[in-house]
């Protein structure tokens, strides 16, 4: 069958099982949008800005496990995707970004809206392409999806010049190539032996456990090894928060219990995590006096930031499957009792008068284990990570690696469209102002989105650092803005409510969660509310600040 490049693209997306595309039309993707129109079977979510489309495709992918897809035109359309692509890259999210470009003969001539997006995104994609021959288009799209969704997942960009979209060639439908992880090549005996020798074991579960859909194996291992589990920010939801062995998040703003358990542990198994500086702190001290066992699909993560004593490279599901029979059923009763005491002590230390604690705790009366909760970046993000109990993978959606303020609106829209569930966005007044334009997208598509905006009139996390490390010189962090969030929500066609004090929390949340469409809740919190505990940047786990 002879088809144009644009038609081939749409056919190939459907081959891959794509049902939703986020994007924004423009001069160099006119033919793709025309093919989309003529096909009529793909759901297209028109965002207000290409950045929102990239974050939405990312949120769609994080919440569903499928590869997210976004479209943008050449030049500024393409560059607007870059922050979203980089966000997905840092958090290993499978994404295929498709950009148009000027015709092949016009490339390199600084044509109107021409930009070398393949060059620009090279450092922030797993791989990228510029398709200069229509005969290679179908194979490229198929390969892009395979690369995005295999091994350590990540974003792939395909740049398609305008003439390639209109040129015609043969197309034959093919079933999608399914990624089947390879069995672990290495001998797992040394890892099993190291785990069996542990007296005070601890598991740190990273985002890789979720990426590899290995959370069942993780649970089985925690059971057999009788080990407490803590999670990185990216790993939240990978191990049920209600499990008595779960200690919460570890790292710069990890729980007291996770922090204390880490200090006491003699053997730490890290699964699908990369020892980010926000987790490892002092990279050298991190491993002192401990046996570190590392499992990761990415060979380059082994010994990158922290040297492991034993490491296994491979898919986590495969590793758990092969390892479990080699590990005897362990008993660590005394250690687990100690852990339980640490949990009680840690819980007792939480400042339960903090407005964010009260609001986020109350919020969970209106959500269930399947509700996607997206965040932006800052204090509200850490509070959400600390105070919300995530039971299932793919329900906590947050920009961990890149720390992208403005991620949340797009991500929540993507999660909401991908899962069809009522979705929560916890954001801050700083982050929200970055991409609040996407409120219009949520309204157009009547998305059941509840936005909890932690409004402290400051860039709270930066202020916290200025308070602790910069002599309270609050340079450019006090937001002298007069934004009326209720009017703003209404102007966009959404609902708006305010939580001005404790008595408002339950009644307002009740109303907000009862709304069918998007609703914004302006939550007034204190300008000097802090995220604690906190390990100062680059410091070790014994320098933790638990109160001020």
């Amino acid at each position: 069958m002879k088809l144009t490049g644009a038609d081939i693209l749409i056919r190939c997306l459907k081959e891959q099982g794509v049902d939703t595309v986020f994007g924004y039309p423009g001069g160099c993707v006119l033919d793709i949008y025309d093919a989309l129109y003529r096909d009529g079977t793909l759901r297209h979510i028109l965002t207000a800005h290409e950045q929102g489309a990239a974050h939405a495709a990312d949120g769609y992918a994080r919440s569903t496990g499928k590869t997210g897809v976004c479209f943008a035109t050449s030049g500024p359309g393409a560059t607007n995707l870059v922050t979203g692509i980089a966000t997905a890259y840092m958090d290993s999210v499978p994404l295929v970004a498709i950009t148009g470009n000027v015709t092949v003969p016009s490339l390199g001539r600084d044509s109107f809206q021409e930009v070398d997006i393949a060059g620009i995104t090279m450092p922030v994609t797993k791989h990228n392409y510029i398709v200069k021959d229509v005969k290679k288009l179908a194979a490229t799209v198929r390969e892009a999806f395979y690369i995005a969704g295999s091994g350590r997942k990540g974003p792939v960009l395909i740049d398609i010049p305008k003439n390639i979209q209109t040129e015609v060639c043969d197309y034959e439908e093919l079933p999608p190539a399914v990624y089947v992880p390879k069995p672990v090549a290495a001998d797992l005996r040394p890892a099993a032996d190291a785990l069996a020798r542990a007296a005070r074991p601890l598991i740190i579960a990273g985002g890789g456990c979720i990426g590899a859909n290995a959370t069942e194996g993780l649970k089985a291992l925690a059971e057999k090894w009788q080990a407490p589990v803590c999670s990185t920010l990216m790993g939240l939801g990978g191990f049920p928060a209600s499990d008595p062995r779960f200690l919460g998040m570890i790292g710069m703003h990890g729980t007291e219990a996770a922090d204390a358990a880490f200090r006491e542990a003699d053997t730490v198994l890290v699964c699908g995590m990369r020892f980010s500086d926000r987790v490892a702190g002092d990279r050298v001290k991190f491993r002192e006096g401990k046996t570190i066992v590392q499992f990761d699909i990415d060979a380059a993560e082994i010994d990158k930031n922290v040297d492991a004593d034993v490491h296994v490279m491979g898919d986590l599901q495969e590793i758990f499957r092969a390892l479990l029979p080699l590990l005897p059923q362990m008993e660590h009763e005394a250690w687990l009792r100690e852990i339980s005491a640490l949990q009680k002590a840690g819980d007792a230390d939480i400042d339960k008068n903090l407005p964010a604690y009260k609001i986020l705790t109350a919020m969970q009366k209106f959500t269930d284990a399947d509700t996607p909760v997206a965040t932006d970046v800052g204090q509200h993000q850490m509070w959400t990570a600390q105070y919300c109990k995530f039971e299932k993978p793919r329900t906590f959606l947050s920009s961990g690696g890149l720390g992208t303020m403005g991620f949340g609106m797009g991500a929540a829209i993507g999660a909401c469209t991908g899962t069809g569930r009522k979705t929560v966005l916890v954001t801050g007044d700083g982050s929200f102002h970055m991409n609040l334009n996407e409120l219009c997208t949520a309204v157009s598509h009547r998305l059941p989105l509840v936005i909890l905006l932690m409004d402290n009139n400051t860039l709270g996390m930066v202020r916290q650092w200025q308070g602790l490390f910069y002599g309270k010189r609050y340079s450019q962090t006090t937001l002298d803005r007069k934004t009326d969030y209720i009017k703003l929500a209404e102007a966009f066609g959404a609902k708006g409510y305010t939580i001005a004090g404790e008595k408002d929390i339950l009644p307002v949340l009740q109303k907000a969660f009862a709304e069918a469409g998007p609703v914004l809740v302006d939550c007034k919190i204190g300008i000097d509310d802090k995220v604690l505990p906190m390990i100062p940047p680059g410091k070790s786990y014994d320098s933790v600040i638990t109160r001020l």
Binding site: M122, P123, H127, K182, A299, M313, G314, D315
Partner: protein, 172 residues
């Protein structure tokens, strides 16, 4: 700082060298030299990179490069088990009275004179980089007008071939 020679087979596509040099730059590794060429198979090109750094840098850069989709095979060229060669062209000022000495140097180093003018000569020398370094030190006093080195290229000895290695992307 140690020097390590890495050899790799790459997909013969445009932009592959940018991917490699970009990776070095953004991960803060130093390229001493890079030498790329086509191979007997038109689908692959071959690159020899000299890295200056330590064991950690070597291990990281090799693994990071291996992850690139267009890097098909990669290995460290072991000093005792590989042939290393580099080509040097050097243009030297040669007055008539020093030409005799130059001919002697040429014979000792088995270099070639590939261009001669009344005032200059271009010498060509192939060998291990250390031999080229030595030759340059010796001709330095005559006045080097300009020079070009290809950067080192390498092949492992015996039956071993880069193509027989396993690519990282086949392991996951």
């Amino acid at each position: 700082m140690q020097k390590y020679t890495i050899t790799a087979l790459l997909a013969n596509k445009s932009g592959v060298l940018t991917r490699i040099s970009g990776l070095f730059a953004r991960r803060c590794f130093n390229i001493e030299s890079i030498c790329a060429c086509t191979t007997e198979d038109e689908n692959f090109s071959r690159v020899t990179i000299v890295l200056s750094g330590d064991e950690h840098a070597l291990s990281q850069v090799t693994k990071q490069l291996d992850k690139l989709i267009d890097v098909k095979k990669i290995t460290l060229a072991e000093e005792h088990d590989s042939i290393f060669r580099e080509l040097l062209l050097v243009k030297i000022r040669t007055a008539a009275e020093t030409r005799g000495e130059l001919l002697t140097l040429r014979d000792i180093y088995k270099a070639k004179i590939v261009d001669l003018s009344p005032t200059t000569a271009i010498l060509e020398l192939t060998g291990e980089p250390s031999k080229l370094d030595g030759f340059l030190r010796v001709v330095q006093p005559y006045g080097i007008l300009e020079m070009a080195r290809t950067g080192v290229t390498a092949l492992s000895r015996g039956e071993k071939c880069l193509n027989d290695l396993v690519d990282y992307n086949e392991l996951i």
